[in-house]
Symmetry: D3
Subunit: 147 residues, 6 copies
C-alpha cells in the first residue's frame, strides 16, 4: 500500500468545489432560520468545523497528501423548508488536487449541523427517522499550471 | 455557545448504528471486487479510517463530548454493481449518546473509498460526474442504564 | 518527569472559570460591533476555537491528564471601546481539576480574535503596536465530591 | 466565512517574534530557579510545548493557513522574583506571515509553566489569587522577498 | 531549544528507507499467515497506521520540521516463522531529510502489529515473554538537488 | 474489522512498564552526558515526547481504545558508553490494559533521542551505520480489580 507518488509532478494552482445537503424536519429548519437553536448558530459552527476539517484531511483520509491550502471557504444555505446545503471551495498551489479536502470540509460541516440540531430531530423513541445527509458530490475541479 | 451540560447525567450503555452509501462507476466496483485497485484495498483502508475517525469525533464536531468508546466496528459491503455501503456500530458507557461517532466513522470511511478509487472515477476532463455519497442515516440508537 | 499520579484519587464534580482580555484599536472594536470584520464573526469563531481547545488540552500541555469534559462554555464580550473579554467555564467528573482546560480555552479564543482582526490591527509597517492579550486568570475553581 | 485567499501571493521569507509573561508567587520562582519543581523542569517542558504548539497553529486557530515552519525557537527566562518571560521566534518561507504561530507558541509555553507549578500557586482554598498571564504581544514581524 | 533553522536551505528531492522487525510466537505468525487473526488483518492495518504516522511525525517528534511528503510506502513481510518485518520508504521535495518520517512509520506499523496480535502473545500470567521489536534502522537515505 | 468490545468489562487498576534502547556512537553518548547537544537536552525532550505519545496512542494505533491515563512516567538513562535506555510506566483505571500506551511512549521517546542527535550519528555519506533502536519489550503488566 502506498500514497500515489507525486514527487516528480510540478506544482499547479488547483481548486475543487464540493456540495452536499442535509434533510431535516421543517420545524428544525424554522428554528435555524429564526436563530433559536439552543446550542448556538448551526451555520456558523458548521463553517468553522468545515474549514478545520479541510486542513485535517491528510490525517483523516489515510492516503491523502498533506497540501498547504491557500484558501478554504465553506458556505451554508437553507435551500427549502427541509433542506440545508453546504458548499466548500478549496484552493492550493501543489502537486495534486484538493477534491478530498473539499469533500471532507463539506461532510464534516454537514455532520456538525446534524449535531447542532439533534435534540430537535429525534423522535419520541430517540431515533432519527427524518434526518439524512445526501448528495455529497464534486461540482467542479480545476487546475492551472503556474509559471 | 456551549456544549450541552451532561455533568449530572448518569452513565448508561449506549450504542448507535449508522449507514451510508457511495455510488461509483460499474468499472470501479468491478476493480474493487477483483482486488485490482492500485493504491490498495479500499474496504480495508476505509474500515481503519472509520475506526480512527470515530475516536476523533470530539475534535472534528465542535460541540461533541469526548466519549471513551468501548467498541467500534466498521463494515464495507458491495451491495450492487454501482454501490458500496458502509455500516458503523459504536458503543460506549457514558453520559451521552454515540450517534455522531457512528456518523463520523461512516462518513470518513465513505470518503476514504472515494479517495482510493478516484483515479477510476474521473472523466476525461478530470471531473466526477458519477460519484456521490448518499443516504447517511442513523439506523438505530439504543440506551440501557447500567446498574 | 511524570504526570501527577491520580490513580488512587476518587472522582469529583469539578468546575473552573477562566478569564482574559485582548486590547484592540477602537476602530477594530467598532468593526466587531457592527459585524463588519471581513473574515467572519470573531466572537463566534473564537468560541468554537475555545471549546475545541478545551478538549485538546492534554495534547497541548504535556503533563495534563485526559479528562472527559462534561460541559464547556465560552463567552466573548466587548467590555469597553478597546477591550474584548473571554470567559470560559469547564466542568467534569474526574480525578483532577480542569483549570488548565479553562485557561487553554480562554487563551486560544483570545488568539482567534487576534487572528480574525489582524488586518485592522497592523500599522503601516506591518507591526502590532496596539494589540495585546492581558490578565489571563482563574476566576474560580470548585470541587464537590460525587456520591 | 473563509480563510484569506493567498493563492496568488508569492512566497517570502517571514519571521515573527512574540513575548508574554506569567506572574507567579516568589516562592514558586525560587523553586524554579533551584530546580525543585517536583513534576519536572518547567522551562524545558514549556519550550517543547511551545515548539509543538507553533506547528499545530493551523489546527487551533480556525482561519490560519498551514505553513511549513523552517525554524521555531522558544526561550524561557526568569526576569524578576515573581515573573517568568517566554519569547518565541518563528520563521518560514511562505505566502503569509507567522505572527499567529509565534503567539500560539508563547501562549502554550506560558500555560505549560502554570501547569508545572500549579501545586505551589494555589492558596488554601484551591484558588489562584497570584497567578496571571500578561502582556502577550508581537515584538517584531519581518518579511523579505525571496528571489 | 530550537528546531534547526532550515530557512536558507534550498529544496531537494529526498528519500529515506527504514526497517524494523517484531519477534512473535510461531503460533502467532501462523495465525497471521492463515488470515485467522480475529481483530482483522495485521499487515493491512499496520500499513495504514504507518502511512498516517509518517504524516504525523512533526507532531510526535518535537523538533521535526513539517514536511509535505510526496510519497509514503509501507510494506509488511513475514521473513521467518517468528519474525515480521516492516519497511517504509518516504519521499519529499523539501529543505531537510525524511529519515524521522520513515522511522516513525516503521515504529508505529510495528506497534500496530503487536496490538493486533496481543491476545496470542500473552502468557498465562498476562505477560509478554516472547514479543519484542528489534533492529529499527535507516537502510538508506538519499538526496538530489532539484533544478 | 473491529476494536475488541470491552463494553461489559469492569474497570480495574492497570499498569504497564515498557523498555527499549537506542544504540549510538560513543562520541554521541559523551555529548549527551556533557550536555553539549546543540538542539537541546535529548533526555528532557524525549521524556516530554513520550508522555504526549502515551496520551495519543488511540489516535496512532488504529484498534486501541481511548483510555484516561492516570499516570505516565518516562525515564531516560545512559546505561553504557553506546546505549541509552528508555523506561515508561503508564497507569489507568479502565476496562482494558495500557501496554500499547507504554510501548508507544517508549518508541516515540527513543525516536526523539535519535532526532536530537542525528547530526552526530550520520557518517560522511549521510547514512546511519551505527544507530539502531533495539529491544522494545513489555517488562511488566499488572491488573487489580477496583472495589
Amino acid at each position: 500500500m502506498s500514497m500515489v507518488d507525486v514527487t516528480a509532478k510540478p506544482d499547479a494552482f488547483r481548486e475543487a468545489m464540493a456540495r452536499g445537503i442535509i434533510k431535516l424536519r421543517r420545524e428544525t429548519v424554522k428554528l435555524i432560520e429564526s436563530g433559536m437553536v439552543e446550542k448556538g448558530n448551526p451555520a456558523e459552527i458548521a463553517k468553522v468545523a468545515g474549514v478545520l476539517a479541510a486542513k485535517a484531511t491528510s490525517q483523516l483520509i489515510p492516503l491523502c497528501h498533506q497540501l498547504p491550502l491557500t484558501s478554504v471557504k465553506v458556505d451554508v444555505n437553507i435551500i427549502d423548508e427541509s433542506t440545508v446545503e453546504v458548499i466548500s471551495i478549496v484552493r492550493t498551489r501543489a502537486q495534486t488536487g484538493v477534491e478530498m479536502e473539499a469533500l471532507t470540509a463539506t461532510s464534516i460541516a454537514l455532520l456538525t449541523i446534524w449535531d447542532m440540531v439533534k435534540a430537535y430531530e429525534k423522535d419520541e423513541l430517540g431515533q432519527y427517522p427524518y434526518t439524512s445527509i445526501e448528495g455529497i458530490r464534486i461540482l467542479k475541479k480545476e487546475k492551472a499550471m503556474s509559471n
